[in-house]
Symmetry: C2
């Protein structure tokens, strides 16, 4: 609160990379989050949250993510000396996998394995902001983690859960691209390319720079023209069914790791064909940059928005966490909620049906009737109908405009002196007698939802 | 992922002041948050979220909160020069009021006033952690903000919304203590004490140091023994109805600000008596430390846990935000969700009925039947019943123990070869024929809830 005597006009500037929504747009975010968390729960994923900060050492040390643009956190007042000075340097988490791995180690004795968890939280990265890339953003993760060994069927379950989420969201058609890192690994080894990581890194640029440049880079790194052509031929294979197996075998390469990878990917794809036909695609180009993935990897494209990049990615890691004695393998995936909202709200202009949860505005003839109006609103709320009393006893036309500006669909008029109450649908103008202890709006109007037309 | 060849045992230590919950305790948090957000919405409070960071200047400058132990945030990589170097220094928000005031200024042209918002987010303070006081904690705020003037009836609405929340939580009896700062202000001026803020600060210590020491401090600050006694007499007044008015008037002090305060508090209390008898208490000792409150103030005690302190506090400010031209008065309150959970989970040991959302575990005779089991689970989920398939085709006893350890109440056995499916309630041992397209568990078991007995 300014106590200056001369009024000063204060300018408030948004911070680039830190998106915030107006109430009607927040409705879209809430609906998306509701679908995600409900679907995760239906599949048995228990919710947890972790603190926003981790020791910087842990953030830097895991998975070679030193380039994640970590935000450090320190008390401005300083003086941590003298109040438990052993506290480590802290930073904001840049994903939900590093904190989850730490949570598993910290609570291993109290969790039951295999442990299925969902975690929906904000994360922070100090990267340069651009469309769909933020400095503060929300991720929605599921992971299955087990002790020592993890059953492979979870690698098929993860993308099916995600497919069920996306089918309920207004994103249109999508495809979940699945690969198994053992396929390129075994293939490269089988054709005599021993620098698997280096080769993967180059092939990963295919979408950005095209096949000719990838071939040139591979040859610059020591591959023959034929080896480079083989790598490109492998990356070109995709199928919605098990056809990819024959196409790989037609390339005439043999290696035990390749065979293992083909079997694992076949298991995932055939489960997908049986339970969610058309949503999973074997795509041998997908590699995921992160070193800790060791088997199945996932990316998700919205059809028609391929250039926007993946909105949901993940994979399997043989060692999600380890305390040196016990190793915890895992498989998981992360929905980029803020990226998705950048698409739905930013690009497509979706918004909520109204800017308030209120269904009914109880009108007011004068301030003396406020208590009566509050009783009516209370009766509506007791049956789950969001209601508020008009803020001022203006003339009714003004009270109706108050409702209209917020998208509140109904205005309630108390009867008084034996007359029944009436409720007006302010869109149609229809006004009918009603009783606050029994009247119901259509179920579709009970809560704000995502508006389906832009009218 | 450690790549050391010699295994190293890694110790993971919790960070003091950053609470995290196990999945079963997280159920308690989720239930509390559900009640809060649903009740806020029923009263028309639209949800928003703000970014976690604000310019440090704004955090320091508002409401004299320079002692809030702010956490500064900086990119570890440095080099903000060259990538939009005009970015201000940032800190984590220590409450939700400062960010909300900034949000109102930033979006004033796009909001409709009076604007009712709810905001449930984490906040951070670098204070010394102790029971019920954390460095990272969740607050749940509602505020009503208007342009220029704010109707006084909102000061009665705010504690009624909170009372409705607390009635649904397993906290037992509670009382919302209400005062109006104009009462002590007018009273002090009426008896000739002109340092209102200084007097309030001393009287605020009453619960901590007792009346004798407060009287001594007041006299040390220049009050006469009689003035000090008058201050203590005022602070001693509390009533669940309008009786406080007579008791103040019996002290024989007259001042226009006092009269204004008594009228305002009477309006709040009489609305409370009419709509939520017994929950609001006029308590003339409540002052709230923060300078920006200018009228009604609130605190909330759990009966029997008074020493734990207030779990929900707030008040009215004539100037929640101002851009130098327009002033936005507001009234609001903040539920200390983490403090409340410290009481429910930490002190009282409440936990969830199970550690997973899963209601039904579909058992597995062998891996060859996994697809069949997945279809059964899918049929259950399509009707809102959380289901998962057993992770391994162990013998049934082991699969039942898997369910038991997580609190999953039902295990499903596929029939096969014309035989009907069966479902077993593993607590009673009852097993009955069932069809995945129609069977329903009791509604109370559909989601994990707060366990009502500790058995």
């Amino acid at each position: 609160m300014s106590t200056d005597s001369a009024p000063r006009v204060e300018r408030v500037m948004p911070l680039s990379g830190f998106p915030e929504y107006l109430p009607a747009d927040r409705v879209v975010e809430q609906q998306v989050l509701d679908v995600i968390t409900r679907t995760f729960a239906l599949h048995g994923y228990a919710s947890i949250e972790t603190r926003a900060v981790e020791p910087v050492e842990r953030l830097l040390g895991k998975g070679g993510d030193a380039d994640k643009e970590i935000y450090g956190v320190t008390r401005l007042a300083g003086g941590d000396e003298g109040r438990g000075s052993k506290d480590p340097d802290l930073g904001l988490h840049f994903d939900l996998t590093v904190p989850f791995a730490r949570y598993v180690l910290e609570n291993a004795g109290k969790l039951t394995f295999p442990f299925k968890r969902q975690q929906i939280q904000k994360v922070w990265r100090g990267e340069r902001p651009q469309e769909g890339r933020y400095r503060e953003f929300t991720q929605a993760d599921i992971d299955v983690v087990d002790v020592g060994e993890l059953a492979p069927h979870f690698e098929a379950e993860i993308p099916l859960v995600v497919a069920e989420v996306f089918r309920q969201l207004p994103v249109g058609d999508f495809r979940i691209q699945v690969n198994n890192r053992k396929i390129p690994e075994g293939f490269y080894l089988g054709i005599g390319l021993t620098d698997v990581a280096g080769t993967l890194r180059i092939v990963d640029k295919l979408d950005k720079i095209g096949p000719d440049k990838v071939a040139a880079l591979l040859q610059a790194a020591g591959a023959t023209a034929e080896q480079a052509a083989q790598c490109l031929a492998l990356a070109d294979i995709r199928s919605e069914d098990l056809a990819f197996v024959d196409r790989v075998q037609a390339l005439g390469v043999d290696h035990p790791t390749l065979t293992e990878g083909l079997e694992a990917l076949s298991a995932v794809i055939s489960t997908g064909v049986a339970l969610a036909p058309g949503t999973l695609v074997a795509d041998l180009r997908i590699a995921r940059g992160l070193d800790y993935y060791t088997g199945t990897v996932y990316e998700t494209q919205i059809i028609g928005e391929e250039s926007y990049g993946s909105v949901c990615s993940g994979g399997r890691y043989d060692s999600l966490a380890t305390d040196g004695r016990t190793t915890y393998p895992g498989v998981g995936i992360s929905i980029g909620v803020s990226r998705l909202l950048g698409l739905l709200i930013g690009r497509r202009g979706l918004t909520g049906t109204r800017s308030t949860p209120t269904v009914v505005l109880v009108a007011l003839t004068d301030e003396g009737h406020r208590l009566q109006a509050m009783h009516i609103a209370s009766a509506l709320r007791s049956r789950g109908i969001a209601a508020e009393v008009a803020p001022r006893a203006d003339r009714f036309g003004k009270q109706i405009r108050y409702a209209d500006r917020r998208g509140i669909p109904y205005v309630w008029f108390a009867g008084g002196e034996g007359a029944a109450d009436q409720v007006k649908d302010i869109r149609s103008g229809d006004q009918v007698e009603a009783d606050a202890s029994s009247w119901l709006p259509p179920a579709t109007e009970l809560h704000p939802t995502i508006a389906t037309d832009q009218g």
